[in-house]
Amino acid sequence: MKVVFERPRSLQLTRTHYCPGCGHGIVHRLVAEIIDEFNIQEKTIGIAPVGCSVLAYNYFDIDMQQAAHGRAPAVATGIKRVLPDRVVFAYQGDGDLASIGTAEIIHAAGRSENITVIFINNAIYGMTGGQMAPTTLVGQKTETTPYGRDPKMAGYPIKICEILSVMDGPAFIARVAISDVKNILKAKSMIKKAFQMQIENRGFSLVEILSPCPTNWGMTPGDAMRWINDEMTKVFPPGIYKESWEVLA
């Protein structure tokens, strides 16, 4: 019998704690498939953040470190400087990366640290129960913006790809959505390119992934996917924001 679908080697055979319709499962699988395709399972080190994906080390079958909130790029820097021939990636959510960890992500990008960052943007704090994120849309209702995010009170969403793309350091900055099959395939090709950049020693790469959180958005999984396409992509347009194929000196 021909095998047409199987679990990537770099994922463990286990049940995750993620909610139904959550995007983490999709992105975990994409990252694991790419690690398998590059045949780098034995030389890859991942960093789990604080947030819903804090237990990512129970799902990926690779060496991993768990980092303090927002500090994954600094932890990744420490690992990569010690082990420059390994592949190091940080997996972070929007609260972790775009709020408490803004200094770490900007400076890792500025140094063109030769690491890859997988940035899950679901416009909300998942693990703590649906509070406003730095990427929450204007008007979006959350636990801490119960009347909708009012820019006069709570400011505007932080656009990480746009910010990082004006810097000299990064090699590859892209934003994708995982809102349908076509976009998931596109996301995979962008994540793969980000890992390729690192493997070829081209410097800092980051892929922002617009990802659903039906539980905290108060939507069905299907509606959540549609909300990404209809609302999130207006504020966070997908695309390649920076691509530089120079090799690091």
Binding site: Q41, E42, K43, T44, I45, I47, A48, V54, L55, Y57, D61, I62, D63, M64, Q65, Q66, A67, A68, R71, A74, V75, A76, T77, G78, I79, K80, R81, V82, L83, R86, A103, E104, I106, H107
Partner: protein, 352 residues
């Protein structure tokens, strides 16, 4: 062996390189600046990593990553920067990662000043971060001792899988003294089979301080407690001067002990049987030093460059068996030997 005249900060840096430190991550702050400057110059030449981080927070988390990857790693800072590192130190202790953290203490609280102080004693010995944890704390009182303790600090960090702190002060960091770099026999260190280096040829390694199940976290806490008790039993270090006959003891560490040494000499010339207890480890605290002299001791005088922090440990160690007095100069001011001598006379007068 060659004797060199070096500033404390630079001697510490050279000792770290010789002790096999593979990487340094730090952020500029006075009065420890010569240390990263020396390493920035020397580490790349010797194939090591030097990186100036964007903040002390980033620096300690780079230490976490590098330590988790199996490297011998250090950071250095001073009070305000050490405050920022506390979250990372808590994670390092939780995840049981070895590293060296240097605090060249300055006056506080807040931005304070850049003069020598010992006001970070509580932060260093009580854990400035969250959760039940301990860090081994060394308090050298000369540039030579600073150098010698660097080797031990890295080794103990590896042996116990725990951060080790060297608590210096602005004087020790800045003053020049002759120093010899002794080539110590290397200890047998446990292999770092737990390091995240890629899972080639073995199962998955995970570095984490997260134990969501309270049953498991309690087990982890008890395991840490067992380690801390082993450290308390094995690693206490101290020096006693005139322990054979002294009745009045000054208790001081670091640069303060140097000044106190002159003061007890003056006291002895004046006919007072004075002695000195100088803790070298501040955690674990050398309580035995006090037990050893208790049959003769009439009183203790704690001298610190603070409002009185180590005095808590002195009182716990003396445990009511003799009076404990305090003399301190906070804010970056330093007492003279005469000042301490006068306090010794007061102690004697009050204790008769």
């Amino acid at each position: 062996m060659e004797k060199l005249l070096m500033k404390g900060n630079e001697a510490l840096a050279e000792a770290a390189i010789r002790a096999g430190c593979q990487c340094f991550f730090g952020y500029p702050i006075t009065p420890q600046s010569e240390l990263p400057a020396y390493l920035a110059r020397e580490m790349p030449k010797r194939g090591r990593v030097f990186l100036q981080a964007e903040s002390e927070i980033a620096a300690i988390n780079m230490v976490y990553g590098a330590a988790g990857a199996g490297a011998r790693v250090m950071t250095s800072s001073s009070g305000p920067g050490i405050s920022l590192k506390q979250e990372g130190i808590s994670y390092l202790c939780g995840a049981e990662l070895p590293c060296l953290i240097v605090n060249i203490v300055r006056g506080g609280p807040g931005l304070g000043d850049i003069q020598p102080a010992q006001s970070d004693y509580f932060q260093a010995t009580r854990g400035g971060g969250h959760g039940d944890y301990r860090t081994i704390v060394f308090a050298p009182s000369s540039v030579q001792e600073l150098v010698d303790l660097v080797y031990d600090a890295f080794d103990l960090a590896d042996i116990y899988r725990n951060p080790v702190m060297i608590l210096g002060d602005g004087i020790l960091g800045q003053m020049m003294e002759p120093v010899v770099f002794r080539e110590k026999p290397r200890r047998q260190l446990p292999p770092k089979t737990w390091a995240t280096t890629g899972k080639k040829g073995r199962g998955q390694n995970i570095i984490t301080s997260l134990y969501l199940d309270p049953v498991k976290l309690e087990q982890h806490n008890w395991k840490l407690d067992k380690k801390y008790r082993e450290i308390m039993a094995r690693e206490c270090r101290w020096e006693v001067i005139n322990g054979d006959d002294a009745e009045y003891f000054v208790v001081a560490y670091g640069i303060c002990a140097r000044i106190a040494f002159s003061a007890i000499e003056m006291a002895r010339s004046a006919g007072v049987k004075a002695g000195l207890i100088r803790p070298v480890t501040l955690w674990p605290y050398p309580q035995k030093a006090f037990d050893d002299v208790m049959n003769r001791a009439k009183a203790f005088l704690t001298v610190e460059l603070s409002l009185g922090q180590m005095i808590d440990d002195v009182k716990l160690s003396v445990n009511g068996r003799a009076p404990v007095y305090f003399y301190g100069r906070p804010g970056g001011m330093v007492p003279t030997a005469e000042d301490i001598f006068n306090e010794i006379l007061k102690m004697k007068g009050a204790s008769v």
